[in-house]
Amino acid sequence: MASGKAHPNYTAVWLWLLALLGLGVAASFLPGGRTFAVLVIFATALAKATLVAANFMHLRFEPALIYALVLIPLLFLIVLAAALFPDFVWHSLAP
């Protein structure tokens, strides 16, 4: 971000991060089925990471080149997960 531009409200972002941390930890104590708890836990993690990247790392203000640098490795990760997935299915089906 070039100097002189307005900054995001860093304090508000920090308070949101703390609230999301509390929510994620609280969700891990939810009774009953794990699926909902796991969904909440990872949704809060994703929200925290997005808040940090967009505001603290100033991604909100960056041009397309920086986005490309972030998105291309994330795309590779999806490919990696897809490539590893058959192995997991194989092991869970094997006797």
Binding site: V25, I41, A49, L77, D87
Partner: protein, 190 residues
Amino acid sequence: MIARLEAEGIPGGITAGKVGVWWFLASEIMVFGGLITTYIVFRLGGPGWAEASQHLSTTLAAINTLVLLTSSFTVVQAFVAAERGDARALRMHLGLTILGGFIFLGIKAVEYTTEIRAGFTPGAGIFWSFYYMMTGLHALHVLGGVVVNGVVLATEGAKVKNPHRVELAGLYWHFVDVVWIFLFPLLYLV
């Protein structure tokens, strides 16, 4: 000379130093992403992982998450101070960030000691191998970030000459924070 090259604009309106740091972070995404993806696939495919993770201290890890999130906030405040040319505020916020890094590593050391004393060494099972590999690599990154922040503090602390360096060091520190944001639920909460 180097500082001038870092701060120099390239077409698109960003500085060369920033492209360099993001490029480095892109490779880091693959380093941690590869580990995390493998961990998820292994964990989905094998029983006993959830029981093993019960032995970890969620309380200590939650405190550590709080420490890292807060240190991300202080390093960004250091950047705001650097932009203003306020060396005193820069020293305070960078100092707090470095302190946060040391607190994180201290708590991590307590965790490791407790776990190893209870017999959960890196060879105690595949969950523990992944746990020590992922958190150990992350802890080394925290240590690296502390050194980088220390260098920035030493060079910019008296008089702010290159405010963009504070932002670049901050980018790396936030990345280390983001990695922990995912390690915490993966290893401790789920």
